[in-house]
Symmetry: C2
Subunit: 329 residues, 2 copies
């Protein structure tokens, strides 16, 4: 049997992660990387003569040779346009993560995918994605209970970007940190009511421009609505060298917990926990598994948008149902 | 829309748990409990005039009024016979947990269910079941890695039974206890090689018959092959009163961990953890969610055996796909 032919659309941290992820999955091969930037520039980054880097403007020529396109753009402006457009030609998988806009994104991908006879799996990362799945499973098992999601410790790119937009800031990295005491109260089945401030801390490492007013920057960060005002936030000013040396990785993780009761007051706690040294690489590995499911669902005659809620878990695995039952059940 | 009509086949701890679980799921109703014992005796235990207790010999009369039968017998001798037999008449769900015999059980249920046009979901507990699902998801996300399963702290009914069969033993309770140091080494991403003895301890509480040779009982437990010989085992002799007072509950739990690498050596750890005050009630809640999926798959024209690997997660939930995407994704 031939390998599943994968292509990547957009070559940032996530796209790089997908290149690595495909190497770990011998039933797949990477056909091409599509970019809106200069292909020569990306090709020199990829530095692998087996991988073609192609201008995004030529993507339609590849309709018949690609089994699944992995859309690796950002959720703010790229994916809302790109995933529906790609679904017109390809089975497509993305990690769209703007929670509030998922229903709208789903509807647009569903419309295009149904019309084209393709499958579009959206929001396949770890949140949304694996965390969502764990919220669902825990919810159906313990209908009488409460679910808690904690994020971190990890770099929030959205919060780092928000700091970078402040006048006088040259660069910044923001860590979201779950408050261990709160996590432990949930683990103990206390079902606590927790405010935003009681769940997470925010720690910021900021490189200020020369002569910038640090006190003003710090105040502006701490009072920023939505992003920081509802949290206990600490701000450290550091040198650019230190930022590059100590804060260039993108770790993340977190926990989904549900505590609930059955029968006459028996308590139960379900916990799903991730500790990730590279957020984009881990997300990329999920996307690649989802690509396998997209390929199979489409081979099976299905079309339209899907989330991980709709994917029979065994379609994610290279093993047959029989092998899975024997080895993992 | 009418409620999903559920019946229970076999009324031990698990069947009792299912009665409670159905109360937490307003889209379902319990139609009847079937028993091979005296229905009057079970009825007095159930003590609810809304629930019929019926002789198992009459089960075929109920073919047209039950949407899903939940088979609550034991895995050793009941389910291998009962689940295939029930699949001839009903959609059926069980928690068959003899790992080595699952392929054979699957084949028999599949044959009967396909012939009858029913769905038979097998092995829907927490292991096999939720732990299996977590092994699968973790495996597909981190192909380069190792999976570890730890059980406990909890009562192992199989090990408790094994002790009870020893001459001079009146009653016994055995706790399986994961060795925290081993769990922590896995959590730290050390990928340790662990022997059976390094993963779990076994702690036994034994009520001896009057005049029994306790030293002999203790030696017999500790040297029992498969069950105890490969473990560090401690044995405590206690009174029957203490056993009833301190060890009458059936707590359990455990962890599935996978640690693996992506890209150029970034490490990741995925952990799924359960802490359960009642093993049978938690298992019952999983069975009831699986019953909902069985009902829907069958309504959708499907038939044959299934495991949780084949169930699209959203079929387990009373919420619509749209509501799930909005609230849990």
């Amino acid at each position: 049997m031939g390998k599943i032919k994968i292509a990547i659309y957009g070559f940032g941290n996530l796209g790089k992660g997908v290149v690595e992820a495909i190497k770990q999955n011998p039933d797949m091969e990477l056909v091409a990387i599509f970019t809106r930037r200069n292909p020569a520039e990306i090709a020199s980054q990829v530095n692998n003569d087996q991988i073609s880097v192609i201008s995004a403007s030529s993507v339609s020529y590849y309709k018949s040779v690609i089994d699944v396109m992995i859309a690796c753009g950002g959720s703010a402006t790229d994916l809302p346009e790109q995933t529906p457009a790609l679904a017109k030609m390809f089975n497509v998988v993305d990690s769209f993560d703007t929670h509030a806009k998922i229903p709208e994104h789903y509807a647009r991908v569903d419309e295009e995918a149904k019309r084209a006879g393709t499958i579009g799996i959206i929001s396949c990362g770890w949140d949304p994605g694996m965390f969502s799945l764990n919220r669902l499973y825990a919810d159906v098992i313990l209908p009488k209970g409460n679910t808690y999601t904690f994020w971190g410790k990890g770099v929030s790119q959205g919060h780092s970007d928000a700091i970078r937009r402040i006048k006088g800031v040259k660069d910044a990295r923001q860590y979201t940190i779950p408050i261990e005491e709160a996590v432990n109260r949930v683990r103990n089945g206390e079902n606590p009511k927790l405010t935003t401030r009681e769940k997470h801390l925010r720690e910021c490492f900021v490189v200020a421009e020369e002569g910038a007013d640090k006190a003003k920057i710090e105040a502006e960060i701490k009072n920023m609505p939505n992003y920081f005002a509802d949290y206990d936030t600490t701000v450290h000013f550091i040198s650019e060298e230190e930022l590059l040396k100590e804060h260039s990785e993108l770790p993340h993780g977190g926990n989904v917990l549900r505590s609930g009761e059955t029968g006459n007051g028996h308590k139960h706690v379900i916990e799903y926990k991730l500790k990730l040294e590279s957020n984009p690489e881990f997300t990329a590995n999920i996307l690649v598994a989802a690509a396998r499911a997209a390929y199979r669902m489409n081979k099976n005659g299905e079309s339209g948008a899907r989330t991980m809620f709709a994917i029979p878990p065994q379609l994610l695995s290279p093993l047959s149902e029989e092998e899975l039952i024997k080895t993992l059940l």
